[in-house]
Amino acid sequence: MKDRLIDIKNLVKHFDISGGLLEQLAVSKGRIIRKQTVVRAVNDVSLFVNPGETLSVVGESGCGKSTLARTLLGLYQPDGGEIYYRGDRIDGLTQKEMLPYRAKMQMIFQDPYASLNPRMTVQQTLEEPVVFHNPSISGSEVKDRVAGVMQQVGVDPAWTDRYPHEFSGGQRQRISIARALMVDPEFVVADEPVSALDVSVQAQILNLLMDAQEQRGLTYLFITHDLSVVRHISSRVAVMYLGRVCELAPTTNLFESPGHPYTRALLSAIPDLYDRRHKYIKLKGEVPTPIDLPSGCVFHGRCPYADGRCSREIPALNHQGKAVYVACHAVEEGRI
């Protein structure tokens, strides 16, 4: 276990959105009751990340992938489970105890228009993390480092005095990546880093991310809904549905022989440029909300292979050999 960079065990994160006491009142069968509304964003998720790899977490909106990433980075306090960084437990640490890990784990965000403080120049944005983590660093050293990183992400270092609104979306995303690289992290969480970008710019950013990984030996946790991107850049993939991991497998295995029925449906839905008019697996019904989770396997209501057991019993993420894990009774029983 020591050789894992990140190890997440049975992570749970719920959000109570019921508001104040008065907001919780509701009427049911003629009686006034107190109703609490809880979004079960992440339920019992176990995952690990090996050093140097790119693990992608994919899923549709509301599946809890962003919450998972933010909980992992300590932006949310988990409601259960454990998080380890190189064997050290890092959930529940105080602000101060967390600091050494903050320099090692960084994040890149989705929206290049919201992820940079509009009132700070590029210089100020990039300086802040370095100076914060190395208070003794000299001014000229900081300047050199800023220039170096800007060079690497492909933004002209002469533009450090500019404000974010003077840059295009792609350039901002480069600056956002630069900010994450400033503290020399070893682990970077990228939350939909190319979803808001146009195709031609998306390719630039993906190349930049792959280059940075190669040069700095970075480990990525890549959150996205775009399966073609996943296939291109990741070594392993975790598929999430309604707050649970339903399949975890090396990329080639996942795309060539998906195990979980949801993964199959998801993969079949990607339009392929060269395979016009291919058939996709149609799922019945609608995605349930994470507020009222179905019993048993969260996917059973839409699954073509579901039986009685699926609606009662939550399937465990089982090892299927060759680093493939699937959480499905039907796969386990060999029905599919």
Binding site: S200, A203, Q204, H225, S228, A269, I270, L273, L283
Partner: protein, 333 residues
């Protein structure tokens, strides 16, 4: 019989304080009855503006400054209020991008469907509701009778987009313009909506203009594609020709920039730079600063969309069809 729709040299400008900005600059294409066309481009290419310009629904300060839109033999750009109103939602319908924003939150689905029919034909509420129910069934909304009384917030995003599709089909239009209809939706729902749209257009013989940034989506649905860049159509042709044999360097770059899963982990082909904003469109060919095969002429003369000898695609590029075809090697960075 002529084309269902013929857009010719369409030009849209935005009147701003600092002067007029040209959003689309001489866009031309045609569409036959029951034919499906994909309008593809990145954000800012002017594809949505083109879509809205067809039904003369450009929000201020934009206006159509030139060109014609011939629909069924009539020029739509010359129509005034009432004449245009009769076209919209009746002969040409639209589907918008975000189904969460498209439906009016304070009116029931029934009201929003019935009013569309009543706007175009003299029909009782009862009869209109009957047509509405039929269309809701066509888009596979379960228990449609109950649904008519409900408000938009009681539906999920996918369901709302189905309802929008149903509204678009109400008056049996000859043409549907769908502006990024699945961009805001998840991939499984996108597949459902696209299949639905495709089936309905085929079974009803409805023409479709699908506006999207996603070439892969277009490739599943349309027969023809027009690729737009900086307010112009740079390449147009049959879907298989565009995808398998792109001519224009921009189209080529765009297709190669897509991670297609064939060689994972390798560097993607990237087009350097970004699309120019409307304020500083470069002179000559607007793509030339990013182009790898540009010649001198590209700097000052704007290319027109023309037939390229030996190919079926039309492309707007000076460098195509010259003595020496640009080869893969020439284009390498």
């Amino acid at each position: 019989m002529g084309h269902l729709l013929e857009v010719k040299d369409l030009e849209v400008k935005f009147a701003l304080r600092m002067g007029d900005l040209t959003a689309i600059n001489g866009v031309s294409f045609t569409l036959d009855r029951g034919e499906r066309l994909g309008l593809v481009g990145e954000s800012g290419a002017g594809k949505s503006v083109t879509g809205f310009a067809i039904i003369n629904l450009i929000s201020k300060p934009g206006y159509i400054s030139g060109g014609t839109v011939i629909f069924d033999g009539r020029d739509l750009t010359g129509l005034t209020g009432e004449g245009m109103r009769h076209i919209r939602g009746n002969l040409i319908s639209m589907i918008f991008q975000d189904p969460m924003m498209t439906l009016n939150p304070v009116l029931t689905i029934g009201t929003q469907m019935v009013e569309t029919l009543q706007a175009h034909m003299n029909i009782s509420r009862k009869a209109a509701e009957k047509i509405a129910l039929e269309k809701l069934r066509m888009v596979q909304i379960p228990s449609p009778e109950k649904r008519l009384q409900q408000y938009p917030h009681e539906f999920s995003g996918g369901m709302r987009q189905r309802i929008v599709v149903a509204i678009a089909l109400l008056a049996d239009p000859a043409l549907i313009i769908a502006d990024e209809p699945t961009t805001a939706l998840d991939v499984t729902i996108q597949a459902e909506i696209m299949e639905l749209l495709l089936e309905l257009c085929e079974s009803e013989g409805t023409g479709l203009i699908l506006i999207t940034h996603d070439l892969a989506v277009v490739s599943q649905v349309t027969q023809k594609i027009a690729v737009m860049y900086a307010g112009k159509v740079v390449e147009a042709g049959l879907t298989e020709d565009i995808i398998d044999n792109p001519l224009h360097p921009y189209t080529q770059g765009l297709i190669k920039a897509l991670p297609d899963g064939r060689n994972p982990g390798t560097r993607l082909n990237q087009i350097p730079g970004v699309m120019p904003s409307l304020i500083d469109i470069p002179p000559g060919c607007s793509f030339h600063p990013r182009c790898t095969i540009r010649g001198d002429i590209c700097r000052y003369e704007s290319p027109v969309l023309r037939e390229i000898p030996g190919y079926r695609n039309m492309a707007a590029c000076h460098m195509l069809g010259l003595k020496k075809e640009p080869t893969e090697k020439d284009r390498a960075e």
